[in-house]
Amino acid sequence: MTKMFSGRDLHRRSFLAGTTALVVAAALPIGSRIARAAAAAGPFAPNAFIRIGEDGKIVLIMRDVEMGQGIWTGASMLVAEELDVGLDQVTPDFAPPNDKLYANPLLGLQATGGSTSIRADWESLRKAAAIARAALVQAAAKQWKLDPAALTVERGVVKHGASGKTASYASLVPAAVAAPLPADAPLKDRKDWKLIGTPQKRFDTPTKVNGKTVYGIDVQIPGMKIAAVAMCPVLGGKVARLDDAAARKLPGVVDVLKIEEGVAVVGDHFWAAKQGLDALDVDWDLGPNAGLSQADIVKGHADASEGDGIVAKQEGDADKAIAGAAVKLDAVYQLPFLAHAPMEPINCTVHVRPDGVEVWCGTQVPARAQALAAEVAGVKPEQVTLHGHMIGGGFGRRLEWEYVGIATAFAKQVSYPLKMIWTRETDIQRDRYRPFYYDHIAAGLDASGRIVGWTHKTTGSSVMARWAPPGMRKNGIDPDAVECAEDPIYETGALKVSWVRHEPPGVVTAWWRAVGPAHNIFVMESFIDELAHAAKQDPVAFRRPLLQKQPRALKVLELAAEKSGWGTPVPAGVGRGIMVQFAFGSYLSVVCEVEVAEGGQIRLRRVTAAMDCGQPVNPDSVRAQIEGGLVFGMTAALYGEVTFDRGRVQQTNFNNYRMLRMDEAPPIEVHIVDSTETPGGLGETGTAAAFPAVANAVFAASGRRVRRLPIAGSLVTGA
């Protein structure tokens, strides 16, 4: 199974133009807002392919990119299950850029994000595999003049028990190709599943533990040179004057290249390039954003938040209900800009030749990357060959593709392949950030502690409006800005949820793991905790009556409470916080136990998660995604914050954009609810849950309510 996943292999094999193969297009029944909008522009297009060669090789061409979430293994399990082959007989491989063939139906384009992969693959890939199996079985039945129903398949071999006849899938490919594909084929009954729901080893692990996986940054092309770049420290600024005489004299420096917004020094190796960069004398025209300060950003959002905004949901008169309530509570929550900081810094290798362009990089949006490289190089998209690579951490960063354009703009000035590598400082300072949010939330309770009215107004930038305009609603609402907020799982009585769009100048905002829910779940679940305390009730007891119409949410809440020892005594300075959510199609409740020292230092002691993600495909990957998602969220909850001063991002590296480390990482227990419901998303669930779980625990431990993230900063400065 050990295999180096390299786009170069893929290119060499030219799988789409290869020998006779049975190719099955996966039809996708799942629609979405974006997909419907996009579909209006063209015919329905299949988006995933199974290829069974005459050599017996079964290749699953992966619409989803692998960036650690285990989707290549999970998707392969779905196919292997319905094909009746072993997981070891399936080889996942990169899909080439093609928004028509490989669009994710939940996103409407070729993109991996939003914890949508398994949800999009669940029906479609299994159905595609079932049809492929039916075609092969039919071919055998025809050859043997037998009823297909009398045949069985095991590890890719069709058998007729009574006669002892057998035929491999490989031998049946020509006949299956010649015959029309069955229009449909039934899916296996779950009692016959051999793979789905069992823990399976991942395809990509072996080469990731021996250093052989080739990430984008590891690409080695003959004749390639390495570029280190200096980008204008203020977004929108440009190079005013460049003196590169000293840099060019350094050993190993090959070239100095300029684009409007930055300079690249090219070297035989990165060190020479970096030395050259340090020797440059550059004056920047800082442009219109040179005065931007963090105070301006906060004030801009606060002022904008006083506006009425656009109403996303209104049921009854929430303001009136709150005004007449026995207990009234309102609060303002502030969430900071966040950088992605994946461990693999941004990089991209480009070779611009007279006959076309080759690009090597990890990307969550291959077709967009290809299109931008083509635009910058001045060629047609089909002249750009994009070699996909394993991604050293996505988290939304590689849903952006601007770095491909920057690399191409430098590379088109030279004849050799150019690998652009950003330093960590550039990676953080030229990231595109999770929006800053400024939320007003209010609610009223009756005498028994039931919620009678709930208003939530969020204020922030719209990623959707820039990234996928068809995803915006007709009334101007960005669904991401109100995701989860507009559908509270609790009975809230009268409800009003609205959004004010505010675009801070000089900042590009982007998807960040757990997107809208990471924002709204923090605000809502923190505020529910505030309401519980205002009603003088235990946070679990307070939630129970509000969740009577949400049995799955209630179940995970009870399970997390039970497994965490909720209600049992804790030492002084220790507290437990709980939260529950329905996000990305899955129910999750998390209890966090923390200790807060007198000086405000926080120690995460223990985390307990209860997940109902429907039918788990690979239970071990489910656990891994929740564990990792929680750590990612706890990191940002405690430390994550990008701030601006004089238009510049103040954070530079892991010393001041802090990460949770081994000595701070708590033990995490994950309990998975047995479920046969349709699978839900996973990769982002834990991240969204972490923020309120930690903040509520900090309140329980210290009596200090955190309404401004990050938590560590709030406790020190006393927000």
């Binding site: 990731k208 461990m343 071990d620 990460m659 081994m662």
Partner: protein, 150 residues
Amino acid sequence: MLTLDINGEARQVDVPDDMPLLWVLRDVAGLTGTKFGCGVALCGCCTVHLDGEPVRSCVTAVGDAVGRKITTIEAIGDTPAGARIQKAWLDLEVVQCGYCQPGQIMSATALIAAKPSPTDGDIDTAMSGNICRCGTYPRIRAAIKRAAAA
């Protein structure tokens, strides 16, 4: 011209003495298993062994590696401790994106080679210089204990 002992093989490299070992390994010797993460010894992605000791190759001058045995992720499996660590990593499915894992494995291997039965405190000390953005810390801890017990 410097002579380096990389994974038991003598390699001649024509680079300045003060060039970080990381870039010699990656861009000159072509061994890309050792990763660049921060450039200033804050993340541990670039960890390699010099005579069995873990060092951050991004801040180690190549001149200081002359005359010492350089071991990278590509060859750590040839050592008994490295093989045990890699097996535990596979057994427990530690890895997600995998980018930091060469550094994690190099740090963990050095730990169990020096302390065959590490405590949680030993693991904290040895491993807290290695950042994992995917959050595999709980599995790394479990895998180190498994490898130590093997």
